[in-house]
């Protein structure tokens, strides 16, 4: 197995390590109650939906988030609608073909609650939800990985921007919603199936990017130091 892995597959290109940075922008949309929140979701640019699911990883956050997206957090913390927050938090953006499909399901969940409730949940003026969008700048680091075992030395050295780009942002770009490392391993046939599955099992939603880098490094270390190369 080791011998096979060290020979570069003719179908596999070297992995180009990229980096990225995100900068947030105001959209002007905000919500003080659940109805305004739904209206905002219907109107905001798709990059805002992206930001509140994914872009928030590159924003200041405490490392023990209760929910996996900003929408669910606000609904719980400010509107005290725990059941709705739970429904919003199980929406996994990688299950959807595009952002509009995610938007549709978010709005559906909210409409159900608005239909069932006799009043519209609301919060204080200074606790409104502000829809934010972001611009992402993608950069070439000029560094490459030739073979999968290079991952174990390259990942710990990666910036959090690279981790975000290859492990989180990738889920929006790859056909099967996977991270770039797993997608690259697919090109090596079945040899790295075990590793691919382990990487895909890392849940990126509840960690900071530094923690995520640590977790991915741990998976790679275990795999490659366990006789796989």
């Amino acid at each position: 197995m080791a011998e096979q892995a060290d020979n570069k597959s003719p179908f596999t290109q070297p992995f180009n390590i990229k980096d990225c940075a995100l900068v947030a922008m105001a959209t002007g949309y905000k919500a003080q109650n659940l109805r305004e929140f739904k209206e905002g979701l219907l109107r905001v640019h798709e990059s805002s939906i992206y930001h509140h699911f994914w872009g928030r990883f590159l924003e200041p956050q405490f490392d023990e988030p209760e929910y996996n997206n900003d929408f669910a957090s606000w609904v719980y913390r400010r509107l005290n609608e725990k059941a709705l927050a739970e429904k919003l938090s199980v929406i996994d953006p990688t299950d959807y073909e595009d952002i509009d499909a995610i938007r549709h399901d978010l709005v559906e969940c909210i409409e159900d609650v608005l239909y069932e409730n006799e009043f519209v949940p609301w919060t204080r003026a200074d606790e409104q939800f502000h829809f934010v969008r972001s611009q992402i700048v993608v950069l070439d680091t000029g560094r490459y990985m030739e073979i999968p075992s290079d991952l174990s030395s390259a990942v710990p050295e990666m910036t959090i921007g690279s981790i975000f780009y290859h492990f989180i942002d990738a889920r929006r770009r790859t056909e099967d919603g996977s991270d770039d490392f797993s997608a690259w391993l697919t090109g090596w046939g079945d040899i790295y199936n075990d590793l691919r599955l382990k990487l895909m099992a890392v849940d990126p939603f509840f960690s900071s990017l530094k923690e995520l880098r640590f977790q991915v490094t741990h998976v790679l270390d275990e795999y490659f130091s366990g006789g796989n190369s």
Binding site: N16, K18, D19, A21, L22, V23, A24, M25, A26, G28, K30, H45, S47, Y50, E59, P60, Q61, F62, D63, E64, D126, Q128, H130, V132, R133, S134, Q135, I136, V137, V138, L139, D140, T141, E157, M158, T159, I160, G161, S208, K210
Partner: protein, 413 residues
């Protein structure tokens, strides 16, 4: 590698510096000018003092210019500051005239530098009209608002907006501060510099030295608020919180602040604070010179709990500084304090002197919690509020502004 970058790498890790270097590549050699109203005192000057050399170290051609005003000009811009934070402020025709005349004179003095720049960052309202006096500008102009602009006093904001609307972009510290403007509004939180005199590690004897130097009692818990003597920082509310908590626990309070050259109201507020503290044992009001960074550092490190009981706050860099030193912060539930003080995790957010008193008592009663929160506070700052993150977002913004409104700017193509 540049020595300054190496020093930051020692604090943040090399990966952070590599990231900045990558981002700076497309901007190398570009002429960047920052303009603000003072070189000493206040958060803006502190940020620029290191942001400028860091940009320079990354290969950008950076200048920092400071406007020169007169008393009427500063009275007017202090009025702007208050009005942006929501207070009804009436500005006379004479004050506005002074504002516009000083702006025109300064813009004329700096014209060649400003018009030749690829990027001009104008900080806060003081130099906002400069753009209108530079018709032959060739670069991108960005207005950076460091103030809590969530509910500005409308007549004054309408006046200021006419100077701001022509900018290519603006920056606010938080989403709730952004205003309706006909250009992109970026959201960038400020930061602290871990290598500055105010934030570097200090020898233990220097920290302990503040007790003797300021007549403090080494055996009493020390509560500290560092801020300008400004009503928005609610120093009188801090004294009230001290009075209430001292009924239950012995402690001492230090209110330490300096004046800023652009704040004509500071003296009046300081007098009120001194009067309130006059009959209070163990309350120390310290007026420190603008360069007392190391003293403030030592006071923050010597304290047990840091307060920032602001009623309005742009961001609250003193909160960031205290958290960097591993101190839990009891802060006003406003502005950027919300971004930093995660309730029950890195400190407490309060809305009254009573709330502050309750949390002081709780933390002094539960010393393990106090330490745990302090540790978390430091980690939050390390990962989110150091100068390197601030700089990263400035560089990303500059690339963003050059590329218009694209969501995804792929520099690898």
């Amino acid at each position: 590698m540049n020595e300054l970058l190496v020093r930051y790498a020692e604090v943040t890790g090399m990966d952070v510096i590599n990231h900045l270097s990558q981002l700076a590549v497309p901007l190398k050699g570009m002429k960047v000018v920052h303009v603000n109203s003072t070189r000493e005192g206040g958060g803006v000057a502190e940020i620029l003092r290191k942001l400028v050399p860091m940009m320079d170290a990354l290969g950008l051609d950076v200048k920092w210019e400071v406007l020169k005003g007169n008393p009427l000009f500063y009275q007017c811009t202090k009025g702007f500051h208050n009005a942006i934070q929501g207070f009804q402020t009436d500005l006379s025709e004479a004050m506005l005239e002074a504002y516009e005349t000083v702006s025109a004179e300064n813009a004329e003095r700096l014209r060649s530098v400003l018009e030749e720049a690829d990027f001009v960052f104008i900080h806060d309202p003081q130099p906002a009209p400069f753009l209108s006096f530079c018709p032959n500008r060739r670069g991108k102009w960005v207005w950076r608002c460091h103030i809590d602009c969530s509910r500005p006093y409308r007549p004054v904001w309408k006046y200021l907006r006419k100077w701001i609307h022509s900018y290519d972009a603006s920056i606010f510290s938080l989403a709730q501060f952004a205003q309706f403007l006909p250009h992109h509004q970026y959201l960038i939180a400020p930061s602290i510099d871990p290598l500055s005199e105010k934030n570097i590690d200090l020898p233990e004897e220097e920290i302990k030295g503040v007790f003797e130097r300021f007549g403090l009692k080494p055996d009493l818990p020390l509560i500290l608020q560092v801020s300008r003597f400004d009503r928005f920082k609610d120093p009188l509310g801090v004294i009230e919180a001290f009075r209430q908590s001292r009924k239950m626990v012995p402690l001492q309070l230090v209110l330490a602040g300096g004046g800023a050259t652009d704040d004509p109201e500071g003296g009046k507020v300081l007098d009120e604070v001194r009067e309130a503290a006059e009959d209070e044992e163990d309350v120390h009001v310290l007026l420190l010179p603008p360069d007392a960074h190391r003293t403030i550092n030592a006071l923050q490190r010597a304290s047990d709990i840091v307060l920032q009981k602001s009623i309005k706050e742009g961001f609250g860099l003193t909160v960031t500084e205290a958290m960097w030193k591993g101190k839990p912060v009891i802060g006003g539930d406003t502005g950027g304090i919300r971004l930093q003080v995660v309730d029950h995790f890195t400190g407490f957010r309060v809305r009254s002197p009573e709330g502050a008193a309750l949390r002081i008592r709780y933390l002094l009663h539960s010393l393990d919690k106090l330490e745990e929160m302090g540790t978390r506070a430091k980690r939050l700052v390390l990962e989110n509020f150091l100068l390197t993150r601030h700089l990263r977002e400035y560089l990303a913004l500059m690339i963003g502004v050059l590329h218009g409104l694209e969501d995804r700017i792929d520099m690898t193509r």
